[in-house]
Subunit: 259 residues, 2 copies
Amino acid sequence: MNTNSGKVTLLSAGPGELDLLTLRAAKALAVADVVLLDDLANPEIVSLAPQARVIRVGKRGGCRSTPQAFIERLMRRYAQKGLHVVRVKGGEALLFGRAGEELASLREAGIAVEIVNGISSGFAAAAGLGISLTHRRHCHGVTFVTAHTEDHGEPDWAALAATRTTLAIYMGMRRIGSLAAALLESLPGHTPAAVVQWAGSIHERRLLTRLERLAADADDAGFGSPAVILVGDAIGESVQALWSQDAASCDDAASARAA
Amino acid sequence: MNTNSGKVTLLSAGPGELDLLTLRAAKALAVADVVLLDDLANPEIVSLAPQARVIRVGKRGGCRSTPQAFIERLMRRYAQKGLHVVRVKGGEALLFGRAGEELASLREAGIAVEIVNGISSGFAAAAGLGISLTHRRHCHGVTFVTAHTEDHGEPDWAALAATRTTLAIYMGMRRIGSLAAALLESLPGHTPAAVVQWAGSIHERRLLTRLERLAADADDAGFGSPAVILVGDAIGESVQALWSQDAASCDDAASARAA
């Protein structure tokens, strides 16, 4: 237990498998006094924090089991007791997930904050598909966008399509039909699209399709949250077999037929 | 030395400091036979690959010291000898940096490929500034785009601005004046903007400003490559002192005046 001033580490847990944590994250967990655990993070992460009191503060989209204000109060309270609090967030803490509000709350209370980056599920999804998100033959960038309208409002799908960047859409599975329809007003039906559920975890599942069949194929194959939806010509570079629902390893890709 | 079939690990070295590597990356390096080292990666990374023959294949923008085709041939040649080749790329391998072409080349040769994700400098830059890239009060996403026109063509700055996502612009320092001017046709001059040079390394430097002063301020303060340029209202949440050229730790942020 830290007897000096406390602090909060906002820690990115990455997409699931524990070896996708950074070395810095593992070090922070090893000395944590209190761990506040997001339910999108792999619960086995607590094995890396043997000294810590673990508090689960899951808050799935729509189902507010632990209100945001309460999580912020918990962090402040423990840090003000002089403890090292590690707030574990799934994926990359600085991409979606209300880090902005948590940082503001902690700073307002004068609490020292350290941020530890991690792997966001969109990158893990691309690794699973065996593709660059920004293949220079196809695009000049990638846009990470949330379809969770309650948090961020409705994205302007026409504007996003006009950028010709690869789109990595988070929290979109409940609205996959309407967002695909909106994108089809600006993009051709044959635009490559993919869904990767539980990207970067042992449960990873992948679907490779075209924009015009995205919603139907995802539904037929029983894909649900949490998943990343990828749309754009760079996705067509995946050599994973079309319609594959198996988490084939990248090593299989060498012998797979080009999509 | 692996006496069975060889393989290539496309490994993301992260933004600089070695503890920002993933545990998986450290494991891959520990058993590597050959390391092909990008010059944007921290050269100290070779200390994690004690068994490996290290080949430096730097290729800075514009200065093609090692042609891409030669790098691809080297990877194929060593893997075909049965060796475990680790191709180290700065940042996140699947974001810019020609991973798409390297993957295609390896698969064409029937070589097994593993991809290990990492931290891209845009996320490290946000951590340095102490901000979420997607604060829900300001935006619904973030776009990573390269201004390296030779590789990816000229981005459509008006289309990017219309998305109202945070923009994280890579390889833009040589064109900071023209890209800022292009963005000013669509975005207000007071739009928060930042430059983070050597993000996530011990040399990190930060500049926080407004879009209308971005190019002049970066020039005055002597900022150069490699750097990430960030533009968007979410950047205004940074509490780092304006005009700061010091790599102040996040812990200092609590006492800094809100920007």
